[in-house]
């Protein structure tokens, strides 16, 4: 008994000593479950080596659930998170509300000027940076080089929508299970609405004019929706109104799509190990109509700190580690250049090793042509390329997405869909006090 007692005493003394020496801070990080974030969780040893006094607890959730939980928390002052993963939609809104901590005082090695201007612009409000981009994306055309060759055609680097239609017609072969083009049709403000809104910019359309009056009754929107529906009905897969990013990715990987216009990040998937057509993929800029804006979008998942967090120093240390150049180099060293989180820093794209990645150039070119502060040909009162950075957009975008999806499913004509969208959005804008 005495032996055990002494042993216990000794152990508890030792424990107290070590415990006191560490003085750990634990931060809770909320994140999306995409590949890059998962990869980061696997590289935490590096962070712990540099910051032994900070412990990280992860909350990994699917995008919609994450957004819901994080928004509820920050809007009610729940204080459960120290680092949030949010997007270029939330940052302007929450930054203006004062819900996010300012990130102007990150250490010099963070090198804020290295951030891509378009992305940095999307995360800055009134000159203050409110979030650090973890990964950035735009959208582009991914096409099957073998099918184009078989059709005797060549895809220009900067195609027009007319080029896309011709290519789709040429590659469309439903009997062989190949569809000319796969596009998003699933209802959702971040699914089909995002895609069609980005597309509409290249047709000269916009959500609102300078006085916040909805513009769905204008000829530009009619042109956009008519073209989209016609393209999908003629050359798209059946049941497209249920196809979102995931479904189209599967279809493309199985060789069923001649083209797919979607996020630049998809490039690493369609050329990766799960793809049956990995060696026959080519890339081109998102199409335009010669009006000066292309149909590509801009999005960045970024790390931000709630203003109410008690552990801002530790949080900032984490954010710095996760988004600076050293992290990119770390991923390159451990997992290869193709797996480095794309679209955040100029230095990455100046790096000659990274330039060898097949879709690197197209990604950076796409990102650089997107300007969230001037998304459309005509002037707009809002920020955002494939969304409108106002709080009401998520609800309106969902409604409009459902209407467009129904049109794709053949339940409404384009004119009916546009009329409904116009009515719904106008009513909401009136109820929210933007217009009389």
């Amino acid at each position: 008994m005495t032996v055990t007692f002494r042993a216990l005493l000794g152990a508890s003394v030792a424990f107290t000593l070590t415990g006191a020496a560490l003085a750990e801070t634990t931060i809770t990080v909320a994140t999306v479950n995409n590949g890059d974030m998962i990869r980061m969780q696997g590289l935490m040893d590096d962070f712990y080596a540099k910051h032994p006094d900070i412990k990280v607890e992860w909350v990994t959730l699917e995008e919609n659930v994450l957004r819901q939980n994080v928004t509820t928390d920050i809007a009610t002052g729940g204080g459960q998170y120290d680092v949030l993963t949010i997007g270029t939609y939330e940052v302007p809104i929450w930054g203006k509300q004062g819900w996010l901590a300012r990130l102007n005082d990150l250490p010099a090695d963070y090198d804020v000027d290295d951030l891509l201007p378009a992305i940095r612009g999307g995360l800055t409000v009134d000159g203050t940076l409110y979030a650090s981009p973890f990964y950035g994306e735009s959208s582009m055309v991914m096409y099957r080089t073998d099918l184009m060759q078989a059709a005797g055609m060549e895809m220009p680097e900067a195609p027009t929508w007319a080029d896309i239609e011709t290519a789709a017609a040429a590659m469309h072969n439903p009997d062989a299970g190949v569809y000319g083009v796969c596009l998003r049709g699933k209802a959702g403000w971040g699914e089909n609405t995002a895609f069609i809104t980005a597309m509409s910019n290249s047709f000269g359309a916009r959500w609102f004019d300078e006085n916040w009056v909805p513009q769905f009754d204008q000829p530009e929107w009619k042109a956009t929706l008519d073209f989209y529906l016609n393209l999908m009905n003629s050359y798209g897969p059946p049941g497209a109104s249920n196809n979102g990013f995931n479904e189209n990715l599967t279809l493309f990987n199985q060789g069923k799509c001649g083209m797919w216009i979607d996020a630049t990040v998809a490039a690493s998937f369609v050329t990766g190990k799960d793809s049956t057509v990995a060696d026959s993929v080519g890339f081109a800029l998102a199409p335009d109509n010669g009006l000066g804006k292309r149909g590509n979008w801009l999005w960045a998942w970024s790390l931000a700190i709630p203003a109410s967090s008690q552990k801002q120093d530790a949080a900032k240390a984490f954010i710095n580690w996760a988004t600076n150049k050293d992290y990119l180099a770390l991923v390159a060293e451990k997992e290869g250049w193709a797996n480095v989180p794309p679209g955040t820093r100029t230095s990455l794209y100046a790096n000659e090793d990274y330039a060898k990645v097949p879709f690197a150039k197209m990604t950076i070119d796409s990102i650089n042509t997107a300007d969230p502060n001037n998304p459309s040909v005509k002037p707009v009162p809002y920020v955002g390329v494939q969304f409108v950075a106002i709080p009401e957009f998520q609800g309106m975008g969902t409604t409009v997405g459902e209407i467009f999806s129904a049109a794709l499913a053949g339940q409404k004509t384009a004119d009916q869909a546009l009329a409904e969208a116009q009515a719904a959005v106008t009513e909401e804008m009136k109820a929210s006090g933007y217009i009389e």
């Binding site: 809770t28 909320a30 999306v32 479950n33 995409n34 590949g35 998962i38 969780q41 607890e57 992860w58 909350v59 990994t60 959730l61 699917e62 995008e63 659930v65 819901q68 939980n69 509820t72 009610t76 002052g77 729940g78 459960q80 998170y81 990013f245 995931n246 990715l249 599967t250 990987n253 199985q254 996020a263 990040v265 998937f269 190990k273 799960d274 793809s275 049956t276």
Partner: protein, 276 residues
């Protein structure tokens, strides 16, 4: 229910029963099979069966990526805790309503069920605010309370139903013999009610285990159960069907085992012939 049946009849019945059971079980089976395929093989068309690439990589990655044991333990505590707490409150209530019914008993029962009529989404923010106020966010005890409250009407109803099956004469006979209320409950009622209680317990543990709304909304790290674990594998950028299947299989397995053992309880069942 042993009826002398002809061997032929027994064969037909057996075949039919097994066919129906397999049809119902098939989606679960497919999911389990998918969990052992590579991602590409999982969504290959036509669906691959024998020609698929079989692998254990999904399980390895799912296990390695998240702290499965912690999620598992949280699920156990929350599901079992809320059910046991509910049973403690519900058994006396159900007994009383079944054997000492009043004029308002049915209304009372209906009212209890009506507390479940509010869709959880509508009351999400009020409950969140309440939990925030009382420091119950991300705590197991908070979830135990919520799930107990959500399932209490179900527990009472099911117990009430099973208790009603017990012939009142038996309890009266015990009473005539001078048994006190307490003895009545413990020595006469409980043994006869065990299969009903077991069945109620199993069902409610499952309901609590699968609850995927409050368990995700009200937790972050410490108290998050398996529903949050699965939510971290679903519908992300890039398909994870095989991994989602693996994660789901890992979440279902404990419950399946529990169900298997409880089945023996149910099979022993009430045999009132023997009681008489």
């Amino acid at each position: 229910m042993a009826r002398a049946a002809s061997p032929r009849r027994k064969l037909i019945t057996t075949l039919t029963a097994w066919t129906v059971a397999l049809i119902i079980f098939f989606p679960v089976l497919w999911m389990i099979l998918t969990s052992f395929k590579t991602e590409a093989s999982a969504v290959a068309m036509p669906p691959q069966f024998l020609s698929a690439d079989w692998t254990l990589e999904n399980y390895v990655e799912v296990w390695g990526r998240s702290a499965y044991p912690r999620f598992f333990w949280n699920s156990v505590v929350i599901a079992v805790g809320s059910t046991l707490l509910g049973l403690v409150i519900a058994i006396p209530a159900a007994w009383a309503m079944a054997f000492v019914p009043g004029k308002r008993t049915k209304d009372l029962l209906m009212w209890m069920l009506s507390t479940k009529m509010m869709p959880a989404v509508a009351v999400m923010i009020p409950i969140y605010l309440l939990f925030l106020r009382f420091g119950l966010l991300d705590t197991r005890i908070g979830l135990v309370l919520v799930l107990m409250l959500m399932n209490l009407p179900i527990i009472i109803w099911m117990l009430y139903t099973y208790f009603k099956e017990i012939p009142a004469e038996i309890l009266e006979a015990a009473r005539m013999d001078g048994a006190s209320l307490w003895n009545e409950i413990v020595y006469v009622l409980t043994p006869m009610a065990v299969p009903g209680i077991a069945s109620t317990m199993l069902l409610n543990i499952i309901l609590a285990w699968n609850e995927a709304f409050w368990t995700i909304t009200l937790t972050t790290t410490r108290a998050a159960p398996l529903s949050a674990f699965i939510a971290s594998f679903s519908a992300p950028q890039g398909l994870f069907y095989a991994k989602l299947s693996a994660a789901s299989a890992m979440a279902i397995l404990p419950i399946l085992i529990l169900g298997w053992f409880s089945q023996k309880q149910l099979v022993r069942g009430l045999t009132f012939g023997a009681v008489k």
